[in-house]
Each structure stands twice: as structure tokens, then as C-alpha cells.
């Protein structure tokens, strides 16, 4: 599973860690994040992310 980086603030989504603040379990692939998930630092949409 690939890490994805936010093009706005530089936050890296790591599937191994998930995003516990927003109810995303460890081991969740970036592609499987809900469509309305956004960057936990800056609030950017999923579309602003690219593979690291």
C-alpha cells in the first residue's frame, strides 16, 4: 500500500497508521478512504493528494 502526500500542506497519509482523528483504521488503503475524507492538517480534498 502506497503513502500519499498532500499537495497543499505536505501531510503524508500512511496506510499503516491510518487517520485515527477521523475514524480511519490502520491498514486502510488511500483508495479506500471515503470520498469526503480530507487532509487532517489543512482540510484539502483527496484530489489534492498524490503518491509519495
Amino acid at each position: 500500500m502506497k503513502k500519499y502526500v498532500c499537495g497543499v500542506c505536505g501531510y503524508v497519509y500512511d496506510p499503516a497508521k491510518g487517520d485515527s482523528d477521523n475514524g480511519v483504521a490502520k491498514g486502510t488503503d488511500f483508495k479506500d478512504l471515503p470520498a469526503d475524507w480530507c487532509c487532517p492538517i489543512c482540510g484539502a480534498d483527496k484530489s489534492e493528494f498524490s503518491p509519495e
Binding site: V8, C42, G43
Partner: protein, 403 residues
């Protein structure tokens, strides 16, 4: 001594109680030749509320302005819309002095303020969309993450139709005038654009979202009260349209040629490229990093379609002045640019390849082959430079005709 500073009335219940910094010239790497202001606001509601504070050395000026209206000890609430030290630097001291009932910040703001000042556990987090009653009026909070920091938020006072917009719609311009309509429009546009380019530009996708979010609230806003520069109380559409234009980063038929030079070889190339661009009908800005500040470069790039960069090779590297501006530009993420590289060298010539790496990292589309010359360019080499200029011009004309 009698206090020399006084508050300025902004609307029925709001007073400006900020500070004017006539002398600041460097704002974390952004040069501010005309100083700045740190705006704080007093809301004279049943529960008297202070919106933001000022940079630490200016606390006395702010307190003095507050005292012209009310005893600071009467302040019940303090709102921190943005944690950056130009707005929060004196917050811990003001809390100690005023002993407000409560201090509020966004969820991210409470975290940041604790990391900046430590032991600020009494600061209460407000959520996006939450309201706070001040007795006879109400504040509404809206998260605006990354405009300018993750903690940033707007606060809306419906009673006075006034939006406290912290860094947004601001500018670094020290003036005795408090309102934008008291200042010349051309200067306002220049200062607001320079500020946008140097502070807000990387967050342009978020700016567009934030503007939509504000529109979707249905708030009938009559006043923007930012944390820097003059207050907007007339024709808000003017600054909103400028923000939309800058944030959308549509390419224009303008090229910025940025270079540094050792013995004028790279400079000769830069001038040949610029002349060819201008002859082809492109607006050109030629900026020598031997003389120009990085802040001016990003201001010019803000409304450009092409970025052409030149450097001689110094000790197997680009010149440090070029490394400076490339680092700065990369961080500010100008979008939708095409570009090319050029430069002279004495024996090894790494600079042009290095500049192309910078351009690629900045997602600038390389639209012409680089020109590189050993020592001084002759007329053949300058002809190649002109070709580079023509090629960029043709591509810019094609791109801007389509958009």
C-alpha cells in the same frame, strides 16, 4: 502620562485597537518595504470581546487604544483567530493582565497555542460553525485552515455584518488610514497582490474552497476586518474578485525571466531571451537576483504564464542568489507555468541541469530546450537564446488562446 493612542471606530459595536509597525522590513523572508499593521478589534457587546492581539512588542500600544474605550479588565472574552505570533505574541501577557472569563481558538488553534506558549490549557476550542453569545449579539466561527496556518479561522459578527478575516484580505502596509477606501486603488492592489504572492499563494486551492464556503453561509457581509493593513467597508467584490483571480492561477501571456550573473554572460543571454519574448508579443519582466529581492520575483510570477531561469555555474553549482529564489518559489507553489533554463559556465556547466531539476520539482513544464554556453555567448548562442524566447512565446500564446 496620558495615553497617546486611541481606538478607531469601525462599525456600530467594533473598534480597531491594533498597532502600526512602521519599521518592519523582514517578515519571515518576505521583504516589507512599507511596514505593516497588526490589527486587533474590540467588540463592545454585553460581554466585551477582544478579537486577536498584536505582536509582542506592541502590546502597550494595543492596551492604550483599548483604554481609550474601556478598562481592559472589562474584557470578558478573547478570540484567537490565528496563532501566528504577529497576532498572538502578547496573548499570554494579555490573559494575565485582563483575566478574561474565557479565551477561544479553533481546535487546531488550541493545540498550536499550547505548542507556542505552553500551559495554555484554559483556552477553549470552538468548532467550525459554532456560535458564541455575547449577550446582545453573537459570533460565528468558521475554520479556514491554511489561510494562513492550520489553526486559522474567521469570526463573523452578524449584528454589524462584519467578518474578522485574520490574514485573509490583508496586506503589509503601514498607514495612518484605517480603511481601504481612504487609499489609492493601485497601491491597494499592489500591496494585496504582493501579500497574496508571498503568504497565501501555496494555499490557493484552499482559498477557492474558503470563498465558496463563505458564500454558502448566506452571510450578508458589509465589512472585512483583516489582521493586517486597511479595513474593507466598500466594494468588497473588488478584493474578492482579485482573490479569485490570484487563486485560480490561470496562465497569462507574461513571462518572468530570473537570473543571476558573475561576469555578465548569463545576463546577455537573459536579455536576448527577453527581447525575443517581447517581440513575439509577450509581456516580460527581467529580474536580476544580483539586485532583486525574492519577494518581488514571486509578486511578478503571481500573474505570469512562464518562468525562465538562468544561472552561471559556480563551483559546480548554481549561484547562491538563484538557490535562494528557487527555494522560495518552490515553497510558494506557483501553478500552471511553463519554463526553461539557461546559463554560462567556465568548465563544468552543472547549473542549467540543476535549474531544470528545480523547475521539474516545481511542476513547471519545460517547454524549450535549455541553452548553455562555455564562457561568453557569441552571436550564434544569443540567436539560440532568442529561439528559446520565441518557443516559449509561441507556447504561451497557444495556451492563453485556449483558456
Amino acid at each position: 502620562m496620558k495615553d497617546i493612542y486611541s481606538a478607531v471606530k469601525v462599525s456600530d459595536h467594533v473598534y480597531w485597537v491594533g498597532a502600526i509597525d512602521w519599521t518592519i522590513r523582514d517578515f519571515h523572508g518576505y521583504t516589507t518595504p512599507h511596514g505593516s499593521t497588526y490589527n486587533a478589534y474590540l467588540v463592545m457587546a454585553d460581554e466585551i470581546t477582544l478579537i486577536d492581539t498584536v505582536k509582542a512588542p506592541f502590546m502597550d500600544e494595543m492596551l492604550s487604544r483599548i483604554k481609550s474605550i474601556v478598562d481592559p479588565a472589562q474584557i470578558k472574552y478573547i478570540i484567537s483567530n490565528h496563532s501566528e505570533m504577529d497576532h498572538s505574541g502578547c496573548l499570554p501577557q494579555v490573559i494575565d493582565l485582563v483575566k478574561p472569563k474565557k479565551v477561544f481558538a479553533s481546535v487546531m488553534g488550541t493545540k498550536t497555542l499550547n505548542e507556542l506558549f505552553h500551559d495554555q490549557s484554559e483556552i477553549t476550542a470552538v468548532k467550525d460553525g459554532e456560535t458564541l453569545s455575547l449577550g446582545n449579539m453573537e459570533l460565528t466561527f468558521m475554520e479556514t485552515r491554511m489561510i494562513h496556518w492550520p489553526d486559522s479561522m474567521f469570526t463573523y459578527l452578524a449584528k454589524d455584518q462584519l467578518l474578522f478575516s485574520q490574514d485573509a484580505f490583508g496586506m503589509h502596509w503601514a498607514t495612518q488610514e484605517r480603511f481601504a477606501d481612504e487609499l489609492p486603488a493601485a497601491n491597494l492592489e499592489y500591496e494585496a497582490a504582493t501579500y497574496y504572492a508571498n503568504i497565501v499563494l501555496p494555499y490557493s486551492p484552499i482559498v477557492l474552497k474558503a470563498l465558496d464556503k463563505v458564500l454558502a453561509t448566506g452571510w450578508d457581509i458589509k465589512i472585512f476586518a483583516p489582521d493586517h493593513g486597511p479595513i474593507w467597508r466598500k466594494d468588497l467584490g473588488w478584493i474578492i474578485e482579485l482573490y479569485k483571480k490570484w487563486a485560480s492561477q490561470k496562465p497569462t501571456a507574461k513571462a518572468v525571466v530570473v537570473y543571476a550573473t558573475m561576469w555578465h554572460s548569463t545576463e546577455k543571454m537573459a536579455r536576448a531571451i527577453s527581447e525575443a519574448l517581447a517581440t513575439a508579443g509577450i509581456k516580460v519582466k527581467l529580474l536580476s537576483m544580483n539586485e532583486t529581492h525574492r519577494s518581488e520575483v514571486v509578486y511578478e510570477v503571481l500573474n505570469a504564464g512562464a518562468l525562465i531561469v538562468g544561472s552561471p555555474t559556480l563551483n559546480n553549482n548554481i549561484l547562491p542568489q538563484m538557490a535562494d529564489v528557487m527555494t522560495y518559489l518552490k515553497g510558494l507553489k506557483p501553478a500552471n507555468l511553463i519554463g526553461a533554463a539557461f546559463g554560462s559556465y567556465g568548465w563544468s556547466g552543472e547549473s542549467v541541469k540543476d535549474l531544470e531539476v528545480w523547475l521539474k520539482e516545481m511542476k513547471v513544464e519545460i517547454a524549450a530546450e535549455a541553452v548553455s554556453v562555455k564562457n561568453v555567448p557569441d552571436s550564434d548562442v544569443l540567436e539560440k537564446c532568442a529561439e528559446l524566447g520565441k518557443k516559449i512565446a509561441a507556447e504561451l500564446i497557444r495556451k492563453t488562446a485556449n483558456s
